[in-house]
């Protein structure tokens, strides 16, 4: 492998492109575990968990971006992450995330009381999103 090989990472959401940069390595979390993508990886499509996407820009610099699900598509050294929502570390409003977390927790207890499984699932996803945001903003 060439010394200077890099991959381009771009994250797109319906509200526009959130992130675009060259990187040495991309680490994503799939439902079956973490997956690292280095330059010249074979083409791959993977679905993503609600978690952080880590992008190693250089040896000592790493960007972290919160994504809420979606998938990553990689080919020809271009990785595209397609997600409903994604936020860079700087864009996360921690107070809002905390409020969302509290709200989601409330919804969960309510859904459990009324045995509303659909609502429960939704609020659990909302809670995971909130926790993910809080985690990343603290780094």
């Amino acid at each position: 492998m060439a010394e200077d090989s890099v991959l381009t990472v771009s994250i797109v959401t319906p509200d526009g492109s959130v992130y675009e940069n060259e990187a040495r390595m991309l680490i994503v979390k799939t439902p079956s575990g973490e997956m690292g993508i280095l330059p010249n990886h074979i083409p791959v499509i993977a679905s993503l968990d609600i978690d952080a996407v880590r992008i190693k820009v250089s040896d000592n610099k790493e960007d972290e971006i919160a994504v809420s699900g979606g998938f990553v598509e990689f080919s020809k050294n271009v990785a595209t992450i397609v997600a409903n929502a994604a936020e860079c570390q700087a864009d996360i409003d921690e107070n809002r995330a905390q409020a969302a977390k509290a709200r989601a927790e409330q919804m969960i207890s309510k859904a459990k009381e009324t045995n509303n499984t659909n609502e429960l699932k939704r609020s659990e996803i909302a809670l995971r999103r909130a926790i993910n945001r809080i985690k990343i903003s603290k780094h």
Partner: protein, 315 residues
Amino acid sequence: MGASLMEVKRRIVSTKKTGQITGAMQVVSTAKLSQIQRHTQSYQIYASKIRSVITHLAQSHLLDAKAGNAKQSSEDGSSKFSGFDMLQKRPVKKSGYLIITSDRGLVGSYNSNVIKQSLDLMKQNGCTVDNTVIIAVGGTGADFFKNRGYDVAYEHRGVSDIPTFIEVREIVRSMVTMYNSEVYDELFVCYNHFVNSLQSDFHSEQMLPISEVNLDTDSEGIEVPNAMGNEDYDMEPSGYAILEVVLPQFAESLVYGAILDAKTAEHASSSTAMKSATDNAKDIISSLELTYNRARQSAITTEITEITGATAALE
């Protein structure tokens, strides 16, 4: 004569003021139009990405296989929120129509166009008041169909001028839930497609169940990249699992695209309507000014005649 002069003058002033307002509204609509067009561009990237992955998965015939499986799994009585239910075709008992109109007026023929064409489409599909469910985005459509006794299962008012994805998500979610709980067995989306700032066309497409047909048809002029078809992708964890993630995302993006498109057309239509209103105001003002000047002149002529008549009498 004096009273009529004043009256004409007052009308000129008031028409001028109306013209000023419509002129300002035109400027606002034009600004919104260019803003939303910029936004749509960034959305297109997202939409074409999803589309390309879906078409790729469709080419590997995952959709056919899974549509069969979904039928079986739903017979188990599980009503979980799953993407595969969207593929499943059912005998159509009730049809759903998502009709996107605007909340406010002053948009020219925008609303009446959508409503009229939607009614035509319903007639064509043999839908009557009894077997149709309306989902209305925008107040005008909601009111219209309610007044005519249609079943408006969901209405959403107050879509912002540049709708964000989070706003629309709520709509999509309830649409899919209603589909899964068999409120309707097929869903059409009806909206005005933005062609250019002077023209918009009525568009309707079947959104649910997702079929190969609406994957292949290139609905909003999004180019389907063929580059992906030839590549052999590794699927992680599996093709089905990815499909389960991508299908709901695809449906969401379709509806979001439709709403964006409709909003763009609304801004364009409002800008055109306001422009013609301003032009009309200018026409009225110029004809009123003519009347005013004529009246003024004849008043002066009468006065002169009176004065000369009076001096002649004195001599």
